[in-house]
C-alpha cells in the first residue's frame, strides 16, 4: 500500500504541474527530440507551384522568389485588421516567401501571419511562425510580441519541444521585457530541473519577480523535484511548503489543488491520517464538479486507515458513478473487499474481490499472454489519461483537428501555401505520434504493473476470505461491535441513495451496514 501510494503521489505530483510543466516527464520516459522548428521548416519547404513539372526522382527545385509589390503587406494588414484572417494569411504567406529576411516588414509579416493562422484555429502553424521569429530575431521589436503570443499558446496543447525547450528554454534573456523574461526564466529553470541541474534551476528561479505566478510555479516545481529525489524521510518542512502553495492565489486552482493533494499524500505516508483527511477535505472543487477519481480513492483509503469504514465505502459508491466509469482504479475493488471483510460480510467481500478479475479479465489476459498492451482498451485509456502521455495525446488530437481545419482553407490559401501547411502538419503529426507512442509504451507498462499488483492482492484476499467463510462459529459466540457507524448529526440531512448520482452528493455518501463479526473472528 505504501509503495502504491508513494508511486501515486509521485506521478500525480508530476502530473499536477500542468501542461506547461516539463518536470512532469516520468523517469525513463523518452524525451521528445528533434522537432527543431528550423528543421521542420526546412523539411517542409514550399512545394513547387508546377506540381507535374519536376523530374520523377530527386527533390523538387525550390521556386525562385518572385517580385512582390510592397503594397501586398499593407493589403494583408488591412485584411487582418478588417477581420479577414483567411485573406490576410494567404497574402502574408506570399509576402514572407518572396521577400528576403532582411526586408523591414519580414518579421512583422511573419508575426501577423502567425496571428492570422491562430485566429483560423491553426495554432500549431501559428506557433511555428512565432518560433521562427524567436529563432531568427530579424526584428527586435517583434520578438517580445511573438513571445507573448507563444506564451499564450502554452496554455493549450502545444509542441513542448519547439516552444518550451527550443524557444523559451534556449532564449538569451538579456533583452526581454520583464514578463516574458520571467516566463523564459521559469521554462529554463524547468529544463535544468529535468536534466537534474538543480543549482542552475535555482539561479533561473531566483531571477523571477517575487510574487509573480511564475515564482509560485517555480517553487512548486522545485518541491516536486525534491520530493522525487527524497530518499526516505519526508521533511515536515516540505509539507508546510506545499501547504503554503495550496493557499497561493497566484497559482491556478488546479495547481493549488495539486499542492493540497501533495500535502495529503505526504501526511498519509507519514501515517498522519487525520492530517491527510483534513488536507483532502481542503481540495476545492468547483460547484457540481464531479471531481477526480484518484482524490476520492485516496480519501477512501485514508478513511479506511482511520477505521471509518462506512465513510470509506460511501466514497467507493461515488467511484461507481457514471462520471468515473472509465477510470482505471483496480484498487477500488480491493478496498471494497477489505471493508466487507472487516465487517465480516465474507460473501460480498469475495464478490468484490472477484469483480476486479472479472472487470479487467481482458487486460489481465493481455498481460499474461504478452500481447501488445497498447492494444488493450482499458490500459490504453488509463495510460493516456495521465501526465506527459496525456499531454502528448492532447497535442496529437489537436494536430488532427487542425489538420482537418486546414482542409477548409484549401481554396483560400492557394496551392503553394496549402501544400506547405499540409506538409508542416503531416510532419508535426508524425513526430507527435512518435512521441505519444514512446510515452504510451512506458505509461501502459506502469498501468499494467498497477493492475497486476492489485490482482495479486485480490487473490490473497480471496484466499483469506475463503478461510473465514468456512470458519466454525463456536456455540454462544456473540456479535461484537467494533466499528460504529457515525450517527446523523442534528444539522445533517440524509438522502437515501437509489442508483441516482447527484454531483453535489459525490463526497457525501455514507454506507450503512452492521458488523457481523463475532468475538472469535473479530479483527
Amino acid at each position: 500500500m505504501r509503495t502504491l501510494l508513494l508511486s501515486a503521489l509521485l506521478s500525480a505530483a508530476a502530473f499536477a504541474q500542468g501542461p506547461a510543466d516539463p518536470v512532469t516527464g516520468e523517469p525513463g520516459a523518452p524525451k521528445a527530440v528533434g522537432v527543431a522548428d528550423g528543421g521542420l521548416l526546412d523539411a517542409v519547404a514550399p512545394a513547387p507551384l508546377s506540381a507535374g513539372g519536376a523530374g520523377a526522382s530527386g527533390p523538387s527545385p525550390t521556386p525562385q522568389p518572385k517580385k512582390i509589390d510592397p503594397k501586398l503587406f499593407d493589403e494583408a494588414l488591412n485584411d487582418y485588421f478588417g477581420n479577414r484572417p483567411k485573406d490576410a494569411a494567404a497574402k502574408l504567406f506570399e509576402y514572407t516567401e518572396n521577400v528576403p529576411s532582411t526586408d523591414e516588414n519580414y518579421a512583422w509579416a511573419q508575426f501577423f501571419l502567425a496571428r492570422s493562422l491562430i485566429e483560423l484555429k491553426l495554432n500549431h502553424a501559428g506557433a511555428v511562425y512565432l518560433a521562427r521569429i524567436a529563432r531568427e530575431r530579424t526584428n527586435p521589436a517583434v520578438l517580445p510580441k511573438a513571445l507573448e503570443e507563444l506564451q499564450k499558446l502554452t496554455d493549450l496543447p502545444h509542441d513542448e519541444v519547439m516552444i518550451d525547450e527550443q524557444v523559451f528554454g534556449a532564449l538569451d534573456l538579456g533583452f526581454l521585457p520583464e514578463e516574458v523574461a520571467g516566463y523564459a526564466h521559469y521554462q529554463q529553470g524547468l529544463v535544468d530541473l529535468r536534466v537534474g541541474n538543480e543549482r542552475w534551476a535555482t539561479t533561473h528561479f531566483s531571477k523571477l519577480p517575487e510574487g509573480s505566478s511564475e515564482a509560485s510555479r517555480a517553487r512548486y516545481a522545485m518541491l516536486v523535484t525534491r520530493l522525487k529525489t527524497a530518499k526516505k524521510d519526508i521533511p515536515e518542512k516540505m509539507i508546510e511548503e506545499f501547504g503554503e502553495l495550496a493557499k497561493d492565489d497566484k497559482l491556478t486552482a488546479d495547481a493549488r489543488n495539486d499542492s493540497m493533494l501533495a500535502v495529503a499524500r505526504l501526511r498519509y505516508e507519514l501515517k498522519d491520517f487525520n492530517g491527510a483527511l483534513e488536507a483532502y477535505g481542503q481540495v476545492q472543487l468547483p460547484p457540481l464538479d464531479p471531481g477526480r477519481a484518484s482524490l476520492y480513492l485516496e480519501e477512501a483509503w485514508t478513511r479506511y486507515q482511520l477505521g471509518q469504514v462506512h465513510a470509506a465505502m460511501g466514497i467507493l459508491t461515488t467511484l461507481d458513478a457514471p462520471s468515473f466509469r472509465e477510470e482505471f482504479l483496480p484498487d477500488k475493488y480491493l478496498l471494497k473487499a477489505l471493508i466487507y471483510r472487516d465487517l465480516c460480510h465474507y460473501l460480498p467481500a469475495k464478490r468484490a474481490a472477484k469483480e476486479l478479475t472479472r472487470k479487467y479479465a481482458d487486460s489481465l489476459d493481455a498481460i499474461r499472454e504478452r500481447y501488445d498492451l497498447t492494444e488493450d482498451t482499458r490500459l490504453l485509456r488509463a495510460a493516456s489519461a495521465r501526465g506527459s502521455t496525456k499531454r502528448a495525446r492532447r497535442f496529437l488530437e489537436s494536430l488532427d483537428l487542425e489538420g482537418e481545419q486546414l482542409g477548409r482553407y484549401a481554396g483560400s490559401f492557394g496551392d503553394r501555401m496549402f501544400g506547405y501547411m499540409s506538409g508542416l502538419y503531416d510532419l508535426a503529426r508524425a513526430e507527435a505520434l512518435r512521441v505519444y507512442n514512446a510515452r504510451l509504451r512506458e505509461s501502459v507498462r506502469v498501468e499494467a504493473d498497477k493492475l497486476l499488483r492489485a490482482a495479486e492482492q485480490v487473490r490473497l484476499m480471496e484466499y483469506e476470505v475463503g478461510l473465514k467463510l468456512y470458519e466454525r462459529v463456536k456455540k454462544g459466540a456473540k456479535l461484537v461491535k467494533l466499528i460504529e457507524e457515525e450517527p446523523l448529526g442534528p444539522h445533517q440531512v440524509a438522502f437515501r441513495f437509489v442508483d441516482e448520482y447527484w454531483n453535489d452528493e459525490l463526497r457525501s455518501y455514507r454506507f450503512s451496514l452492521k458488523s457481523r463479526c463475532i468475538e472469535e473472528t473479530a479483527r
Binding site: 460480498p348 437515501r496 452528493e505
Partner: protein, 208 residues
C-alpha cells in the same frame, strides 16, 4: 391449514431471494450532507389574493414574523390587510337590484398565528445545470378577522413551500384556508376564506 401451507410455500422463494440479495449487496447508502439552508428568525413581506368570495376579490399585503424552533417545527404570527375589488356580480346586484353595499361582508384585515410542521426538505435539479433547495410545510393556526360589519375568530389549515435563494433570502408560497367561526355580528354559518400569498422571506440566524 392446507391453505396456509400453500401460501407459505409460495412466499418462501421470495424470502430466499431477498435474503440472497441482502447477502450479495448488503447495506444501504445515503448521501449525508450538512443541511444547506437553515431558518431561525424569519421576516416576511407578502402579497396575495383572497380569491374565493363571489362578490369581491381581495388583494392582500401581509407581514409576518416566524421563529423556527428546529428544522422541522416553527411558529409564526402575521397581519394581513386586504384591498377589495368588487366583482361584476356585485356591481350588477347593486346596480340592477338595489342591494346595499353594506350587505356584503368583506374581509378588511385579519391577523393570527400558526404552527408549522416542515416534514419535506429537498433539492431539485434544474436542467442538470444547478441544484435548488426547498422545503414544504403544513400549518395549523388561529386567526381573528375584521369584516366590514363584524369581528370574528377563525381557525386555519394550510400548506406552503419555500425556495431558498440564499441563506438569508427565500421565496415562499402559502395557501391557507380559514374557517371563520359563526361568532359575533349575528352570523349563523361558517365562512371559508381562502388566502394565497407569495412572500419574500428574510432569514436571520440559523447558519450555525
Amino acid at each position: 391449514m392446507h391453505k396456509t401451507l400453500v401460501v407459505l410455500s409460495l412466499l418462501a422463494p421470495t424470502a430466499a431471494l431477498a435474503q440472497l440479495q441482502e447477502l450479495e449487496n448488503p447495506g444501504t447508502v445515503s448521501a449525508i450532507q450538512e443541511r444547506a439552508y437553515r431558518m431561525q428568525h424569519e421576516l416576511n413581506l407578502a402579497v396575495g389574493l383572497l380569491p374565493q368570495d363571489a362578490f369581491y376579490k381581495g388583494l392582500t399585503v401581509k407581514g409576518s414574523y416566524g421563529f423556527h424552533f428546529t428544522d422541522y417545527f416553527a411558529a409564526q404570527g402575521y397581519f394581513t390587510y386586504s384591498y377589495n375589488l368588487p366583482t361584476s356580480l356585485r356591481q350588477q346586484l347593486e346596480r340592477d337590484f338595489g342591494v346595499l353595499p353594506t350587505a356584503f361582508d368583506e374581509v378588511q384585515f385579519f391577523f393570527g398565528g400558526d404552527l408549522m410542521w416542515k416534514p419535506l426538505y429537498g433539492k431539485l435539479s434544474v436542467m442538470n445545470r444547478t441544484v435548488i433547495h426547498g422545503e414544504v410545510w403544513l400549518l395549523l393556526g388561529g386567526a381573528g378577522f375584521k369584516f366590514t360589519n363584524t369581528f370574528r375568530p377563525g381557525i386555519n389549515i394550510g400548506g406552503g413551500g419555500r425556495w431558498f435563494i440564499s441563506q438569508y433570502v427565500s421565496l415562499r408560497l402559502d395557501v391557507t384556508d380559514y374557517i371563520v367561526l359563526p361568532v359575533g355580528g349575528g352570523s349563523t354559518s361558517f365562512t371559508n376564506v381562502l388566502s394565497m400569498t407569495l412572500a419574500l422571506a428574510l432569514n436571520f440566524g440559523g447558519a450555525e
